[in-house]
Amino acid sequence: MAAPHRTHEGTHDGTRGGTPAPIGLVVDGIGRTFDDGAGQPVEALRDVSLSVAPGRFVAFIGPSGCGKTTLLRIIGGLDRATAGTVLFDGGPRPEGALGYGFQDARLLPWRSVLRNVALPFELAGMARAEREARAMDMLERVGLADFASARPHTLSGGMRMRVALARALVTRPRLLVLDEPFGALDEITRTDLDDELRRLWLQTPMTVLLVTHSISEAIYLADRVVVLAPRPGRIIDDFEVEIAHDARSPDVRTEPRFVDRVARAATALERGVREAAVAR
């Protein structure tokens, strides 16, 4: 199925210029070889190709060392591929159109929550009043308006990730790249933030790429799940979740169709690890 399972189109507000369109991307034959430090080449990714339609939510899962983070970093422009290309709407990576979320919140401890969220605008040279107004809007959307003047160290881990998410989204990115953003959080906080992320995605016209090591999180959030196998990192399965987003509440995880998707991903993961062990 090609169409995303969106239940409603985003609440596009046209007050600040035209609505940015989500980015579609084509990853073609990506390879990445590292030097292991002892002069031996290590192949982190081999011939990875996939295309993502604009506005979709794609999750990448795989065991640690399968290159999923490397793939995301190459797409995000944080690392260079040693082979292959990535095209964004058929062209090079557009400036300022990407938002990033990382495993750690990466907040500046000396800045208030508001000024952390306003940072991307500040570095882009936007005037103070405007950037802080926009950051405040964003904080309201993630339910943190009351903490605007707090310093990050006074917040819980979940709230810090929420701030990081707000900073990633404040520039209205057309492509959001998330590298295990909630991996360090407890289960309840994590589900909470997953729901939040879904809500924000449904409201915003953007494509999301999410790397996670949790099968359940991948299937709970994504339209489509890409499974990677290790040594060398490559795609071993790629399937549509086919559960409507408005049907995805925490309860969905016990339903047969959800369990079935989890089983498919788990099978692919195991196969990948087994093949890697044999190859060794």
Binding site: G76, G77, L78, E95, G96, L98, Y100, F102, D104, R106, L108, P109, W110, L119, P120, E122, L123, A124, R151, P152, H153
Partner: protein, 264 residues
């Protein structure tokens, strides 16, 4: 009593008691042994010497404080500047930074006479002496602080297209501030030492004598009580500067840094 007052008492009271007990023991020891005052004056002798010579002592303290402050101030500005250059220019850091560490080992006492040739007698030479001792911890801590910025935060700034100067001003400098303040606190204590050593060599004698010269003169006159009083005066300069730097550091860091958060 509020919790913070109680904490304050807990941190102030024990050392205060120690000082009172130590001074009392000192007084008692001098009285019991009957040691000659020129060898070891009693606390009361020192106090009397201070009262008797308070005007020249206070003037001397003022002069030493001025030289210390100028030396410390220039060490701060120069040290942070040099540290920033060393931290950002790789070739200079590799070529110069190890030498600054070596240079630090050169005793100021040995260099101080040279300063008289370059700066003449008086305030400039003394301030230069203070600056020379104080600048090294500032340079070292600036370099360390700037270079140990979380690489993840650097990556974040790169992602958002920060320029080099923005990165310095909005990331590296704030991130290095706790380390730099630690360097400044060390420098505060050292700058008084540098000033007094400088005064031994190039301070003006006579009516405008700073602490170092008061000490030398008192030694020649075997006024050990006055020597002690002068030492105390120079110590007060050091404590005050250290306290000021720590206080300002606390104000700057208290909203975010662990070193300044209330500890139970």
């Amino acid at each position: 009593m509020s919790a913070s007052t109680r904490t304050l008492w807990r941190s102030v009271l024990p050392p205060a008691v120690t000082v009172v007990v130590a001074v009392a023991l000192w007084q008692l020891a001098v009285m019991l042994t009957g040691v000659a005052p020129y060898l070891c004056p009693s606390p009361l002798d020192v106090f009397q010497a201070f009262v008797e010579r308070r005007e020249p002592l206070l003037a001397a303290t003022g002069l030493t404080a001025a030289a210390t402050l100028i030396g410390f101030g220039s060490a701060t500005v120069l040290g942070i500047t040099i540290g920033t250059v060393l931290a950002s220019v790789g070739i200079l850091r590799r070529g110069v930074y190890p030498l600054t560490n070596l240079l630090q080992m050169v005793p100021v006492v040995a260099v101080a006479p040279l300063l008289t040739i370059w700066f003449g007698y008086g305030l400039s030479a003394v301030a230069a002496s203070a600056c020379i001792v104080a600048i090294f911890p500032v340079i070292a801590n600036t370099v360390d602080g700037l270079r140990s910025v979380d690489p993840n935060l650097r990556e974040l700034f790169a992602l958002y297209g920060a320029s080099r100067s923005e990165r310095w001003l909005k990331l590296e400098l704030p991130a290095a501030t706790p380390t730099i303040i630690t360097g400044l606190r060390i420098a505060a204590g050292l700058s008084v030492i540098g000033a007094v050593v400088g005064e031994f060599v190039s301070g003006f004698a006579g009516a405008n004598a700073p602490i170092g010269i008061v000490i030398l003169t008192a030694i020649r006159e075997a006024r050990t009580d006055l020597v002690f009083a002068a030492i105390l005066c120079s110590a007060v300069v050091g404590f005050t500067l250290f306290g000021l730097v720590s206080g300002v550091g606390h104000l700057v860091l208290r909203r975010w840094h662990a070193s300044s958060r209330a500890t139970p």
